[in-house]
Symmetry: C2
Subunit: 341 residues, 2 copies
């Protein structure tokens, strides 16, 4: 199993999760373009593509470079600000793959204007991060088109689905925002062929009549946030961090998986810094770089025991590791680990 | 400067920070054994050793393996639970360096008992993580000695210094705990030659009459937590994450440095997810993997501007990067990046 802490991946659950999301999208007549930032693994991307994904979503040019050999249709769903070096990298990528790039300003579009990429206008559907207001999407799309760029459509990330009881409402907001954006594009005579949304918590509530593509990422593995949001059960968690119990100080189980293995993510609504796979009543009450402090109902696990911890946010936990240890033996590399620019 | 986000290191400030802590320890007649988990860089470790550090502290066997070529006196200040593979690694390390290992249980000590290492008993001084209660240290030291292991002394990490107005009080707790522990070792006829404590926030308040060694880590770089705790000013921050402003959505500055560059750390008392070096009134109000959302008083920085962000917890930010970009040109590798087991 290797020295702890390390990532443990149950490929049977992974495959079930991949099939389930493919089935959900298929039944809803939505294209699925999974976000590869979650797993950073071409091996997993190939499984998603084999199950019917139309392409991949990535967050950075670096990730696109890792996934281009496995996929000829990549959407960098991020408002890139492209410098000369980035432009060269995008040109090289476009020689083998179709490259879509997110955009929410004319200024950023200008820097894309001589590149062989298509642009997707980002709109804000309530997460209030990047993206223009939906009513402004058509105006921006028209100006981008005037630069000689091809506008493929519109996209949003309904990230406010990451809140208790907000999953369905965020999907409603997503549909409303994308409907407005699409109509403003039509009014500007820039048809939106791509209408893309999606997050793992909101996926089941997506409005296929408005959207034609989903970009969820976390669903492949699941994590403690998804369990606590009610998106999945523990039996759908494919990835855990295996840790060793190193101390019983203070009557608690102290393990060697800290923030450098689990990530430090903790939403205001989270019950702790992650969960214990086999013991839903346990709580990770404190986290240092190399320690998790776990209140463990019933008898403490023996010193030296291996325990499987579920990170709050699996994308950040994966980005801290160099490889997956498969439950049935072997390893896969986290090929795009650190390719975050 | 390289594509953003990336780590920017000001070597002049780094050197001043190294000298200042060496001076503080020298004046107090305390040995300095800096924690190398902060920087994971043999280049920086050599500077610390040249400035008078007696050795290095590390958190894992993997870090010890990276630093052994630079240092022949390494303290793995962690309650290791050693398996057969770990034992082989410790034996190999001990061929070139003196190896000290933390311990807070007889069970863990048994697994060290045939290895060429010295043991340091960990005590809890108020952080309530690992470590025995100070009054129990002598009893544990005696039992460890009976296993044939050499007990070098006692150590603690006063991590509760990471709280507003707690820096001096945590140093008091540290001294009280180590004084009790030292006396119980003496009573058990296991003299404590090493009495080790220290954290960056509490370092200036350390009681040299009780301690003889400090193990601070963060002081080399500084970070937003240290600024907000009052340990340092912004002019002592040597390391920042350089980010590009990619969006003005919502009237805020959105940059490309998110939790995969800054780390997701946020203490309850922090004012945000990090700080802006040149603008103390700015606040990072939201963080995603590839976005930081910054409320920026006055006019927003232009799209495409580079801004220097100060991570809340620099140790986790460094562990996310493969290299340091030096302000005067060149790069240093983060050699122990990911060596967290």
């Amino acid at each position: 199993m290797g020295t702890t802490p390390h990532l443990r991946l149950d490929v049977a659950i992974l495959d079930r999760n991949i099939e389930a999301m493919a089935g959900l999208c298929g039944a809803a007549h939505l294209s699925l373009r999974p976000h590869a930032k979650t797993h950073k693994s071409p091996e997993i991307a190939r499984r998603q593509l084999s199950a019917g994904a139309v392409g991949l979503t990535v967050a950075t040019i670096g990730e696109a470079e890792v996934f281009a050999p496995a996929c000829d249709d990549l959407f960098i769903a991020y408002p890139l600000w492209v410098d000369a070096a980035d432009a060269d990298r995008l040109r090289a990528l476009a020689e083998r793959s179709r490259i879509l790039v997110g955009c929410d300003s004319v200024e950023a579009a200008r820097r894309l204007s001589r590149l062989p990429v298509e642009v997707v206008v980002e709109v804000d559907s309530g997460h209030h991060r990047s993206g223009v207001q939906p009513a402004r999407a058509g105006e921006l799309a028209a100006r981008i088109s005037e630069l000689g760029l091809r506008v493929r459509g519109v996209f949003t990330f309904p990230g406010h689905s990451y809140s208790p009881d907000a999953r369905a409402a965020a999907a409603d907001d997503e549909a409303a925002a994308l409907a407005v954006a699409t109509s403003t594009l039509a009014a500007a005579l820039v048809p939106a062929r791509l209408v893309s949304g999606g997050s793992t918590p909101s996926a089941a509530f997506s409005r296929a009549g408005v959207l034609n593509e989903l970009r969820p990422g976390v669903y492949v593995f699941g994590d403690a946030q998804q369990v606590e949001l009610g998106t999945i059960g523990f039996d759908q968690v494919a990835l855990t961090v295996v840790a060793t119990v190193v101390s019983h100080a203070g009557g608690r189980a102290i393990t060697d998986a800290g923030s450098k293995a689990l990530g430090a993510d903790r939403s205001a609504w989270a019950t702790g810094y992650g969960r214990v796979l086999e013991l839903p009543d346990a709580r990770i009450v404190a986290l240092s770089e190399h320690h998790s402090t776990i209140e463990w109902p019933g008898g403490l696990p023996a010193l030296g025991s291996l325990v499987a911890l579920v990170p709050n946010h699996v994308c950040n936990a994966v980005n801290l590791a160099d490889s997956y240890h498969l439950t049935d033996g072997g390893t896969w590399p986290v090929s795009a680990r650190g390719r975050n620019n």
